[in-house]
């Protein structure tokens, strides 16, 4: 592999890792605070993608400027977080926090299945593609290869901004500090007057919104069809488990490892590209069962 191919593989890996991180970070945030492995995260991702594609198509058909495709992504993320995430936590999940983990998995899996059917009812089974946002940004030529500016530049910028923003939110804002305190010790937090129910609700809304944002950002790059949620949830679980459950910085590093591993596999040994994320996960967990950044005793987000 010469230097040009090495750099091309690097760019491809970073672009892929950015999207994976954006989706996985919501999952790890929810687990870090609420100790729930939310299988429905995949459906929330898919709903974000579908909603963004529909709203963007509406904008285009209404003759509005295509630039509105970008705020549409944020609107979709907020709607998914508030209208789906909020009620799910409030009506369902808070009833099972003290139940066995297997029940939590089953309930979130049931939500996943129901939302998959809801997607089919609303959007049907035919693939949908809406790439106005991506087309608007055009392409850039690097070493005789065309990249979309959207994937090569925008997605990594959003991923880094998200990482920095989440760190700031959790460590510098009151709401974030309340979340951290509740994560460390729920009973002690409640004893000093923190409303843990509200913290959980806020966390789930933010996590669901991040899943929606991941779907929204992925929507211009891919065909949206039944099953995309399942695909992403498997990859997100691999990222979260490898990073250490609840580790945001770990999720960023793991997403980068998986993205680069997959990319270099395509360039060097394409047969292995499907295996790479899981080989990385197994290799890390064999050496560090708690994950790259995880701790066997107390976990922090």
């Amino acid at each position: 592999m010469n230097l040009t191919l090495f750099l091309l593989a690097l760019f491809d890996g970073i672009a892929y890792a950015a999207l994976v991180f954006i989706v996985a970070v919501g999952l790890t945030l929810i687990f870090g605070v609420m100790r729930i492995l939310n299988v429905a995260h995949g459906s929330l991702y898919a709903m974000g993608a579908y909603l963004t594609a529909s709203l963007t198509t509406f904008i285009i058909s209404a003759g509005l400027p295509p630039i509105f495709a970008f705020p549409t992504m944020l609107v979709s993320a907020v709607l998914i977080g508030a209208l789906l995430g909020g009620p799910l936590e409030w009506l369902l999940l808070r009833r099972i926090y003290h139940k066995p983990e297997v029940l939590q998995l089953l309930v979130t899996f049931a939500i996943f299945m129901i939302l998959e059917d809801v997607q089919r009812l609303i959007w049907g089974t035919q693939p949908i593609f809406q790439s106005a946002a991506l087309q608007l940004m055009g392409t850039v030529r690097v070493f005789s290869v065309n990249y979309t500016v959207y994937q090569l530049i925008l997605l990594p910028i959003v991923a880094v901004a998200l990482l920095v923003g989440l760190r700031y939110f959790l460590r510098r804002t009151v709401a974030g500090k309340l979340i951290l305190a509740t994560t460390e010790d729920r009973e002690a937090a409640q004893a000093i007057g923190i409303d843990a129910d509200k913290v959980f609700l806020l966390t789930f809304i933010v996590g669901a919104g991040l899943a929606g944002l991941g779907g929204a950002l992925a929507s211009p790059t891919t065909s949206i069809l039944p099953g995309i949620g399942a695909d992403m949830i498997v990859l997100s679980f691999a990222v979260v488990a490898t990073a250490g459950l609840g580790q945001i910085e770990g999720a960023a590093l793991t997403a980068l490892l998986i993205g680069l591993g997959r990319s270099f596999a395509v360039y060097v040994w394409p047969e292995t590209q499907v295996l790479v994320p899981y080989v990385i996960m197994v290799a890390v967990l064999l050496v560090r069962p708690e994950g790259l950044f995880g701790s066997p005793s107390a976990r922090k987000i």
């Binding site: 089919r120 693939p127 070493f143 790059t221 065909s223 992403m232 997959r262 360039y267 590209q273």
Partner: protein, 428 residues
């Protein structure tokens, strides 16, 4: 006295009733298709088509006067559920089954149909191995198989772009993606041994992102990029390739792209090779002016809001095969309702016509179906690519002879083979 008269009438009617039972109230037909999951892009249009077609059959008096009654099973529920439902339907009296879309399911269903002794028409699955590895009494295929489809793509490529030197493949990483490439590559190796395979990519089934493969392909710049992918995978690959200019660098050969043309819109530019898995195209050059063809296309578009794609044609062939077999068997019996063995006997050498050219069933139960290929063009009034430079190949010349194994047979093809094929050409 009244009781005596009624009893006498009943006794007189008994033989008539027994005779009438020979012709059932309904011909119960089970259809398996993906109604959920990624492959529902094929199953749902096929179901819609089957409902329209059976409505028409029944409006015209049914099959030999017997109305057809359809029951659908979702292949998307998984093989275990599929086989359970299949068995239940047969044990509840299904007269015939149309199964299935997935080649994996066909491999499971074929021996099951044999065990249950039920007529099974494989209406859409493509694996060539079914009749090459086993023989069946109750199982027939009303369409071509993967070998016929891949050889049509090879032949068309050699005819319209004979000077290519390099090729790369991007196929889904499962049985179809691997097997179809095996056939294509073996044929190409026999017919054009000078062509170099510069890249083989098998991204996972359902991959949402082909960016890395596209970067690699742009660096390799192959003359030809083959992809036998379908559904959302094919849509994503072509859309992303077009966004990044790869469709301007290489010629794409897409044997299943007829089913994606409408969804791809302007993303499939002119000059790329499109296959139709048979001679299946809503604008079929030989059939588009036929009244029945036009009427069906209008009904289908009205019901679904979309153009008919190849599973619709395959469904038409499955149902046409069933009707033709019953008609042939009844005719041989002087118009009486045939029993199951007589219907099965009628299948050998059976000719029937769905929405495309007539299809025949060979002695090994394999359907011989014409193959259409074309080149994309964005020149019509429609907001998506249509086909030009269409060629319809004779299916018999592209199908592995009875008793031979496909990959071995295509390896024996001689350079110049494509020049000797029977082909009808249409500009648009």
């Amino acid at each position: 006295m009244k009781k005596l008269l009624m009893a006498t009438a009943a006794c007189v009617a008994m033989p008539l009733a027994a005779f009438a039972q020979d012709k059932p109230d309904a011909l119960k037909v089970g259809v398996t298709a993906f109604l959920t999951g990624p492959a529902s892009v094929f199953g749902v249009p096929a179901k819609d088509a089957a409902e329209i077609m059976v409505e028409d059959i029944n409006a015209n008096g049914g099959i030999q006067g017997v109305p057809v009654e359809l029951t659908f099973i979702d292949e998307g529920a998984g093989t275990e559920t599929l086989t359970t439902e299949y068995r239940r339907l047969v044990e509840n009296g299904a007269d015939a089954m149309l199964a299935s879309i997935s080649s994996g399911n066909c491999k499971t269903i074929a021996p099951l149909a044999e065990d249950l002794q039920v007529l099974n028409i494989m209406w859409d699955c493509s694996t060539q191995k079914i009749f090459e590895e086993d023989s069946y009494k109750y199982v027939f295929r009303s369409q071509a198989n993967a070998t016929t489809e891949m050889l049509a793509a090879v032949a068309y490529l050699l005819k319209v772009k004979p000077d290519f030197k390099t090729i790369a493949v991007v196929n889904q990483d499962y049985a179809w993606g691997r097997d179809s490439w095996d056939i294509f590559r073996t044929a190409l190796g026999a017919l054009r041994p000078d062509v170099e395979v510069v890249g083989e990519f098998f991204p996972k089934f359902g991959s949402p992102d082909y960016s890395t493969e596209i970067s690699r392909l742009q660096a390799l710049q192959p003359d030809i990029i083959l992809s036998t992918s379908w559904g959302g995978d094919l849509d994503t690959f072509v859309q992303q390739a077009n966004q990044r200019g790869l469709t301007n660098v290489s010629t794409f050969v897409l044997p299943l792209a007829e089913s994606s043309l409408e969804r791809l819109g302007s993303s499939l530019p002119a000059g790329h090779i499109v296959g139709a898995r048979g001679d299946h195209y809503w604008n079929h050059p030989e059939r588009r002016d036929d009244e029945d063809f036009k009427a069906f296309m209008a009904k289908f578009e009205e019901k679904t809001g979309a153009k008919a794609i190849y599973p619709v044609f395959h469904m038409s062939q499955g149902l046409a095969a069933l009707q033709a077999a019953y008609d042939k068997a009844a005719e041989a019996k002087g118009g009486e309702w045939p029993n199951e063995d007589e219907v099965i006997a009628a299948f050998e050498g059976l000719e029937f016509q769905g929405l495309g050219r007539p299809v025949t069933i060979r002695e090994d139960h394999q359907g011989i179906e014409a193959q259409m290929m074309g080149t994309s063009v964005q020149a019509g009034d429609l907001p998506f690519a249509t086909l030009e430079n269409m060629m319809i190949f004779d299916g018999g010349e592209l199908t592995t002879p009875v008793g031979e194994e496909s990959v071995a047979w295509v390896g024996t093809l001689q350079p110049g083979w494509a020049d000797g094929l029977t082909v009808d050409s249409y500009e648009n």
